[in-house]
């Protein structure tokens, strides 16, 4: 597979503020790639570098095989972008803006435009100033999904949508994947990420702290185990990867790094297991750990 986006060692500072500090990002062609991180981690800055709106201080960036700063127009012909905060011209109607964006990109599929307006329940005749936040986002989303492009860059595109529209949005992203298009999706809505993304990259303080499929990421985190044993547990405290061990008589509760689970189970069965519950980490826990911990600790 070819890469739709490759970024390595990206640095960008605004005055003294260091926004990006050696960020790496790889997006395969044809995948839906989740781009995650806490507020202020540098997601929007990265996206604006990918769009050639900001010039990187250092590092290599390739979007669809081009340098986005130098070849901005060629790259943009094949990109549709939806900002998180959509601002429209007050006196232009939504339909006019959709058509404008379509023409400014590679072109617009008018049948798909009509279909999307229907599905998103958008009134295209209203003027820009009369739309709500969610409806402004729909204008940008319809323009993006109806455009004839190879790569969609979506920066928190659903923060104003209701759950029904969120469904429509997810269906649209899946259709894009089926058509072989690439999607870079920055989002805080974890169910959306879990539903849609083939792979995710998590960034923090301008640096990539984790990248891979959700299954890979789950593997790197802790599983909760609670068990009732036939006899007292033995040697659990000395096993590597065990945390928060809590022993009360024959009852044991602990957290274990998922890749050390095997050794812990062996030790437990050695004492005789009467009952056992093992809970894989929820997505929320996974992200909270990545968002909160110091980058170094996560992979240990």
């Amino acid at each position: 597979m070819t890469k739709a986006i490759t970024v390595s060692g990206l640095h960008k500072s605004f005055g003294r503020t260091r926004a990006l500090d050696g960020l790496d990002l790889d997006v395969e062609a044809g995948e839906v790639h989740g781009f995650l991180g806490p507020n202020g981690a540098g997601k929007s800055t990265t996206i604006r570098v990918l769009l050639g709106l900001l010039r990187a201080d250092s590092g290599a960036t390739q979007v669809l095989g081009h340098d986005p700063w130098r070849d901005a127009v060629e790259v943009h012909r094949r990109i549709a972008y939806v900002p998180g905060d959509v601002t429209l011209w007050r006196n232009l109607s939504g339909g006019e803006v959709i058509d404008l964006y379509g023409r400014l990109r590679g072109g617009l599929d008018t049948r798909r435009r009509a279909e999307l307006i229907e599905r998103f329940e958008l009134d295209p005749a209203k003027k820009g100033r009369t739309y709500s936040k969610g409806n402004r986002q729909k204008v940008a989303l319809v323009a993006a999904f109806a455009s004839d492009v190879d790569l969609l860059i979506l920066d928190e595109p659903t923060s104003g949508l209701d759950p029904l529209m969120e469904e429509v949005f997810q269906r649209c992203v899946e259709e894009e994947r089926e058509r072989g298009r690439t999607v870079l999706l920055s989002s805080h809505i974890l169910s959306e990420v879990e539903e849609l993304c083939d792979r995710v990259s998590i960034i923090r303080k301008g640096r990539t702290v984790e990248s891979g499929s959700l299954a890979d990421l789950r593997h790197l985190t802790r599983t909760s185990v609670s068990a009732e044993l036939a006899g007292p547990p033995d040697g659990l405290a000395h096993l590597p990867g065990v945390h928060d061990l809590d022993v009360r008589g024959h009852r044991v509760r602990l957290q274990v790094d998922t890749d050390r689970l095997d050794a812990v189970l062996r030790s437990l069965t050695a004492s005789g297991v009467r009952s056992l519950t093992s809970t894989p980490p929820t997505l929320e826990e996974l992200f909270l750990r990545h968002y909160q911990d110091e980058p170094g600790e996560v992979t240990v």
Binding site: L53, Y81, D99, K127
Partner: protein, 527 residues
Amino acid sequence: MTRQLTGTATLLRFALRRDRVLIPVWVAVNALMVLSMPKTLQGLYGTPAARADLRHQMAANTSLRAMVGPVFGDSLGALTAWRVGVYAGALAAVTSLLVVVRHTRDEEESGRQELVSSGMVGRRAPLTAALLTAAVANAALCALLVAGLAGQGAPGALAFGLGVAGVGMVFATMAAVVAQLTESARLARGLTAAVLGAAFVLRAAGDSASDGGTGGGSSVLTWLSPLGWLEDLRAFAAERWWVLLLFAAAVALQAAVAYGLAGRRDIGMSFLPTRPGPAAGRLGTAGALAWRLQRGSVLGWSIGFFLAGVVYGGMTDGAAELVGDNAKAREIFQRMGGRSGPTDAFLAAMVGMLGLVAALYVVSSVLRLSGEETSGRAEPVLAAAVGRLRWAAGHLVIAFGGSALLMLLAGLGFAVGYGREVGPVLGACLLQVAAVWVIGGVAVLLFGVLPRGAVAAWGVAGAVLLIGWIGPALNAPRAVLDLSPFGHLPKLPGGGMEWGPVGVLLGLAAVLVAGGLAGVRRRDLAG
């Protein structure tokens, strides 16, 4: 009612804090313009006899009276009130209307008001705070004028200061009403400014029809204009204090209407509803988008320039006659317009004035780029297959082409109003474009290189305006006059054509634009 005003004091402090630079600068410029006048007039018309002479000439000259109003007395104070009163009032009006719209409709339109009003803020508190902010600005201006002019006679100074502040407050309350009616702050400002323009024209028409201040009353038309009331107050010439009641009544009436409307409508909504637009659009390029965004303002400016040409053209003969009679005044016009016959000097001075105003247009048009960028609307456009240069060029063609169009229309207006020397006057108008473009080039350079400081272009245009309008009357040194690109244009009609300086100005404009565009290509997009 008091509950509806909860939070006014906090909002007022907040508004004054936000305007801590704007208001002092506006007030100081206005006061400086007025307070420098007695000394200038002393130099021009030093003796009571010279002043009495001027007064008689004005009484006989309809068209010049239309431009600057009638003279009611021959003291220096009376001449000061005559010479700058209307302009001081108009500037106070502009300041006031901008302040009020900025703190009412602008806040609602941007959505900031919503958050503020969710606090302990009464329904009418934002409007009250905005009007009080304007009142503070006008009171400060009034105090400066009274103190500065007291030497010419305390009652006159008081009447003049109150009159100028009164005009300010009339337009502050008018803006408060208009801000309730429109959904867009830009439209609210435009409509109020149009009323101000109409007040100016009414006063001019009324004054040309009156008896020129020799004894009788003003025309009805003058009484219809708040700027006319300022004249009718007759500061320094047997003040008619009761005219102040007109200001008070207008302020009270308009404030009552604004309050009534403000208490009845939803936040962000207006009494002039928005109509739906087309469901599909034909805009397909960045240039078409730029034209769509700017066409309304180009149309407005075009009408204004054409009409100004017609009006100035119409008063040319009368003005030239008067100027020709006074050696010093002729000198000033010659400094503005060149050494030639009084008609040509007057024409050249008026053409030059329109050129200065066109500089304001070019700055406002170029800075649309900056507005699109900082509002975030430029980002998705530039994320599409639109190069930065194409995007910028769309707006710059309108800015630079538009300013040439304005001067062309002004020239055609002169042809309609004056009817002679059509070719030379049209040529003189188009010549101004070279200097206008230099100012436009400065705006492009600032936008490209110092995007955060792009508004400084207004400062440059304002400085050029001051140099051009007041410089000649103050007999400013050559070095100061030379700072303005307009100072280097040949004085036409009447003077000799020199291509050299014009070529230099055009070259300079091209270099500035090129430098700005290079910056636009190179820098990060703000947002």
